[in-house]
Every structure is written in structure tokens, then in C-alpha cells.
Assembly symmetry: C2
Homo-oligomer: 414 residues x 2
């Protein structure tokens, strides 16, 4: 894409009152637009990053046998009353509204109830199970305070998966597969090294739920890390008993700040019993379906990546989620050679942001650092004299002069 055609421009500063580093950088670089606290629009660059993250998550959900669907934002009150989650005293993050005839409706902050109700159409026998479904859905949550940029939004994009199983063994086997898929996702987006499966508080059915926590100085949670085992315990459930139950030693645990990037939860038979989702097993016995729920905040993940991968100059995207593979910048007087290079790189299946604007080299470099594409290719009168371009990784200060004829090969090796 030509940078001159991008309608967004980099901004000198984020709006006043925007405290979070992730939002400040993303706003200044033109990825997002702040509508109000906790409510952000995603501009062309931001939508590209969300798309990259969604593709990775979708691939892993499909590999688990997940079927994608999309439920609705508008929710029926009666359904949530059956599971005792309608009342604001039980759930304090509802946005509610009403139909013209006065019927109260809710705006979805989660979808267990709605999908479970729907499954009554499709689940009768053990032969219909297991079923795994997922969606990318905009959730609305009426947070009292929303000061963390896109880390905790009032409106945000979430991937939620739901598993419906005949019994706990079948559920547990899938749950373990889902843990592995989640770890793979965090690995693929560049957070693998710093993300840990974390034991957190469970519910009526299970002692623990599981969170995926990424170490972060700005994190809201405190976790106790058994680094060599790649697991952690959330402070909320940390007791001597839990430590020994998990086969860990207190002295091996390291207290760190962390940000939750995913969670998985076992609802057991509760929701199915409340909503009436039963199946007939192979002996003709009627049983409730076992429900699991698996969430990743997609837009939150984008924010975590910016918190983790940025410096004083701007964002530093991991390759897998960068809006473009390459940032091609021309600061020389020759237009034909960089124009041709732009075409060649695209023909070789690289996505390229091409800065051919009439602007100073300094402006172009600053914009490039702010936007954070992992590799920069610079064309100048000086590099062209040597029939070369200069390449530079966003993570490094080192530049390298590469003959144009060797460029593709060199980039492929990076």
C-alpha cells in the first residue's frame, strides 16, 4: 500500500487523558481512534493487525475441530434469569436497553447462555456430541473504570469457544487439547516465552480455572511463577495447600506482575441443567451436557503486544502480526527504481507499506519507527550509487547495505 493513500496520519500526541501506553502509541501511529474511555475504533492499520491475530486464532480453533458461527449482541432477559446472571447485583457489567414495547434486553458480555439455549435444537443424542463452536464477537462490558486502553474495553473483540461434551473424561481430554492450542497461539503471536498457564479460582464445579498470563510490568494481576515448569499460580488462590497439590515448592515461586491474555473455564453440567440441555446416552439415559468455555480477547491481545514490544520511538510488531511485512522508504530523487522494487516485492508475496511521500527523511524515519513494521528497506541516492538498498530491523540500530539483486534472497533468510 502507498503510505500517501492511507487516510490516517501519525499524530504528535494522543488525546489528553489517555494514560495507557498501548493506546497512546496505537492512536499516534494511526491504528485506533478513541471514541470514549474503553471504546476504540480500528482504523485500516489496526484492522490489519486484528486480521492477522484472528487468522492465527482461527487456524488453531479449526485445528481443534471448532466450527465458526456468530451469535448476537441483543440478549433475552429470560435466558439469563434462568442462570441467575441477569440481575446487576450478580453481574455488574451489563449494558441494558429495551425494545419499543418496553421489553428489557441485554447487550452481550458473554455467550454461554445463548449458545447453550440454541444447542437444544441440535443436541438430542450422544451421537450429536461432542460439539465445538467458536466466534469472533464484539462484546460490550460496562466497566466502571476503563483506563487501560485496549487492554480492558467497554467494547472489544473476543474469540470465545464453547465445548459440549457427553462426560467429564471427554471434556477433560478436549480441555487439555485447548490448553495446548492456546499456548501455540501465544507462541505464534510472539508471546510464547513470557506467557504461562496459570491456576486461578474455579467455580461451583472445579477447584481451578486456567488463565494464560503474560508477564508485564503494567499487568493488573500478580502471579507466582514456577518458571522451569512453565506454570504459575494466581495470587487469588495461592495457599501452601495449593502449592503442594500442584507439586511445586514455595521457594521456587517467583512473584511477577502479569496480564491475562486468555482463560478457559469448566462449567460442568450447571448451565445445561439450568437451561435444559440434555442428551440421551448410549444406554438410553438422559443426562446434562458438559460445557467448557474458552476465551481470548483479540483486541486486548493487540494491546498486550504493544505493551510488550515497543520503545520510546514507537511500536515493534512481531513479524506474525505486523500490518505489513516490509516498510519501503524512498528518500532519494530516483522514483523509478523504488517504484519497481515496490512492485517486485509484492509480486514475491510480501505485503509492503511504501513511503514515497514528499516529506523529509527525518519525518519518514520517525513515522516508520512509530508504526513499527519489523523490517525497513531504505532507498536513497547514496544506496543507489552502490546499486543497493539499506535494510534495518526495527529491533536493531544496525543497518546493512544489500545489492538490489540480492534483496529478495536476503529478506527470505531473515
Amino acid at each position: 500500500m502507498l503510505q500517501s493513500e492511507l487516510f490516517t496520519k501519525t499524530l504528535r500526541q494522543a488525546p489528553s487523558g489517555e494514560e495507557a501506553k498501548n493506546a497512546q502509541l496505537l492512536i499516534r501511529a494511526g491504528y485506533i481512534y478513541k471514541v470514549m474511555a474503553g471504546v476504540y475504533a480500528y482504523l485500516p492499520l489496526g484492522l490489519r493487525v486484528l486480521g492477522k491475530i484472528k487468522t492465527i486464532v482461527r487456524e488453531e480453533m479449526d485445528a481443534l475441530g471448532g466450527q465458526e458461527l456468530i451469535m448476537t449482541s441483543l440478549q433475552r432477559k429470560e435466558l439469563w434469569e434462568k442462570t441467575d446472571r441477569w440481575d446487576d447485583k450478580q453481574v455488574d457489567i451489563w449494558f441494558k436497553s429495551e425494545l419499543k414495547n418496553g421489553t428489557e434486553v441485554g447487550l452481550a458480555w458473554s455467550h454461554e447462555e445463548q449458545i447453550t439455549e440454541m444447542m437444544k435444537n441440535y443436541i438430542q443424542s450422544f451421537r450429536d456430541l461432542p460439539i465445538y463452536v467458536y466466534q469472533f464477537q464484539t462484546k460490550l462490558r460496562n466497566e466502571l473504570r476503563a483506563k487501560s486502553g485496549i487492554l480492558r474495553g467497554r467494547e472489544f473483540l473476543m474469540k470465545d469457544m464453547y465445548s459440549y461434551s457427553t462426560n467429564t473424561e471427554e471434556h477433560d481430554a478436549f480441555y487439555d487439547k485447548a490448553v495446548k492450542a492456546y499456548l501455540k497461539i501465544f507462541e505464534r503471536v510472539g508471546l510464547g516465552e513470557n506467557t504461562f498457564l496459570t491456576f486461578a479460582s474455579g467455580g461451583a464445579f472445579t477447584q481451578f480455572s486456567h488463565e494464560f498470563q503474560t508477564m508485564s510490568d503494567t499487568g493488573e494481576d500478580t502471579i507466582y511463577l514456577a518458571r522451569d515448569r512453565k506454570v504459575a499460580i494466581n495470587k487469588e488462590v495461592l495457599t501452601d495447600e495449593v502449592i503442594s497439590q500442584l507439586g511445586l515448592k514455595k521457594t521456587d515461586l517467583e512473584e511477577v506482575k502479569a496480564t491475562e491474555v486468555g482463560n478457559i473455564f469448566n462449567f460442568g453440567a450447571t448451565k445445561s441443567e439450568q437451561l435444559g440441555l440434555f442428551f440421551t446416552d448410549d444406554k438410553g439415559v438422559k443426562k446434562p451436557v458438559i460445557l467448557g468455555s474458552y476465551g481470548i480477547g483479540i483486541s486486548r491481545l493487540m494491546g498486550v503486544l504493544v505493551e510488550q514490544f515497543s520503545d520510546s520511538k514507537g511500536i515493534i510488531w512481531p513479524t506474525s502480526v505486523s500490518p505489513f511485512d516490509l516498510h519501503l522508504i524512498n528518500i532519494g530523487s530516483n522514483k523509478d527504481i523504488p517504484d519497481k522494487l515496490y512492485k517486485t516485492l509484492q509480486d514475491e508475496n510480501f505485503s509492503v507499506l511504501y513511503d514515497q511521500r514528499e516529506a523529509s527523511a527525518g519525518t519518514k524515519f520517525a513515522d516508520s519507527d512509530l508504526i513499527g513494521i519489523p523490517m525497513r528497506i531504505l532507498v536513497s541516492d547514496k544506496t543507489l550509487k552502490a546499486e543497493s538498498v539499506e535494510i534495518k530491523a526495527r529491533t536493531s540500530d544496525k543497518t546493512q547495505l544489500i545489492k538490489i539483486k540480492d534483496l529478495i534472497k536476503t529478506i527470505r533468510q531473515k
Copy 2:
């Protein structure tokens, strides 16, 4: 995809109270799920059709130079007060809610205000214009009655594009290009023959807005068609004066029922003046930006297609939007040959729904007709004796026996 793995099953009947043919068929076939009147979830088959439609629309929007983004559902009251569209007396389809601190918020039924406000960050000079942006966004509209299935929803998917131009000439030129792009979209989804550019009531700025109306017995609108000219006049603006102004003859006009599938609208400078979006022209003069707005109801379009293309047995998808290219059905005892064929067809880049379930031939045929994939490939003991399969178009009762070795070639020619 294996049909046995699809969690949806065809249903004998739609929920009671569902009057619209589009929703009845789509629910029974497993494309959508009804949450409440005018609120439908999209299940795996339905999401595939939406995806096909979105791809076609996206390609045409990109070809117009459109940049994709995604705005928010939550809307600030102040913004809509500035354009006098907040009050329920002015706009009677708002869903409203409030933040924890009591601040009123709206749920978006359109996005002119929000995008125009945002553009103040990015538009200062004539050099920044024109700008074309679009999104696929879930809109909420608090319709008093919602009885038309997915044709008129309280929650629905819309593509809305917005153009920002320096003057009316530039605006008009783009507007004309957008008309052509819209006609191309309706052509590509299979509605070309029956869809007409229709003159409808304008606003403060223009005498007319333009609708795209598809002839339909169940349509809500009445239009007067000049068939050979491929244009129509909405009943709401039909006068002798308008007829002659458009160079048409009253005697050539044909009264037909129609459904609106798209509309385009010129806001002129109104919104920019109300919200303060100005630019400096090449002579240094400050001027308001000219706004156009261009909508297509994506989920509505899916409903229109079902209304247009269905029979007593079920849906008949146009090839371009069908959830799968081919419906492969095995009713014979041999599993290896159809399994291999399934793989071969996929290797040849056809998307295939493969019915290898343990079910009667009658059930499989009925399901296939209901789901409505344009081409069915049947494998039976009888066809295999002739080293053949039987192909049948959903639109026809004729079957054709084709040697397996000639199948790919034959399908490609269809």
C-alpha cells in the same frame, strides 16, 4: 466439509411465529438461529454465505479506493445532538443505554456522525482529500415491528461506505462510480437482472437519493420501472414533474413491488458544518467537506437472495454466494470411491459438502434440496457400475450420468 461433522441439522419446521419465507428456510436448513424477532445468529453455513457476499462487496469497495476500518457500536450522545439526530422524536430506532456513572450512550444504527468527527484528526488540507472509507458493522435498530426475517432486523450486518470530497464535482464523479460498483455487486450476487437504480426522496441538499431496488412479490416498496432504461422511481417521489425531469414517459412505467438492497445518499456539507469538519483549499480558503454515504445490508441481501431463489423444497443459491460449490452425496455401499472423490474435488479447489451420513437416500435428497447448493453429485451402487456419478443442478430436475474420469472437466464447463 463432512456433513456429519456439521453441528446443525435440518429442522422439520421453523419456530412458530416466524412468518418470513427467508427466515423459515434459513432456519430449517441450519443457516441461522432466531434469538427474538429481528435478531438472528449466523451458524456455520450462514457465516459462509455472509463471507461470500462480504468478499464480493469488499473487492468492489477496494476497487473504488475504499479503505476498510471498523467503528464502534457505543456512541456519544453529544455528537448526535450536534446533528439533531439523538432525540427519539427525530430518530425513532435508537437503542440507548448508560454508563455506570449515568452518562447516556447510544448503540449505533449508522456511523456518519462518528466517522465525520474522527476525520477531524486526519483532514486539514485539500491534499488530504478525497477519502473513502468503509466497514462491515453490526447495526442495532430498534424497529417497532420486525416480521420480515433477516430482511429488516433489529441487529444486522451492514456495509457502509463514506466519501469525503473537496467539492460537488469531485463528489458527483465518485457517486457515479459508486452507482456502477453497486450495480456490479448486485450482478455478481445474482440479482443483476431484477435490480434497478431507483430515484427516491432526497434530503436538504439534493432532490433525490438513490436506492437499488430488487423486484420481489414480498417487497415492502412500490416502484415504477422503466425497464428498458434500467431505472425506476420510488412511489414516494412519483409525480408528473419528476417523470418528465428524468426523461421518462408515464406510459412506459410499470408498477412493481420491490425490496431495497442498497442506497446511496448525498449529505452535502451539512454534517461537516454541524460537526466542524473543514479543510483549506488550494487558495487557502476554509471550506466544509462534502459527505456521501453508501449502504448495503449484507445480511438483508442474503435474505433477498433466499426470497428470490427458492422453491417448495428449499433454497437455490446463486453459485457466487453458495456456502459450498458442490454437494457430494453417497447413497451406495462403496465408501472408498466417494471418499477419494471428495479429496480429489477439494484438491481441484472446489469447496465440497460431503454427505456420507448413515441416512436414507430420501433424507439426503431432501436435505440437499433444502440447503440449496447449486450442484449435486450423487454416488450410488448403480452409478458406480457404470464407473460414473450422477450430477444434477439444483435448478433442474434433469440428471446426467458422467464418467468419474470426466467429472472435473464437466463441472468446470458448467
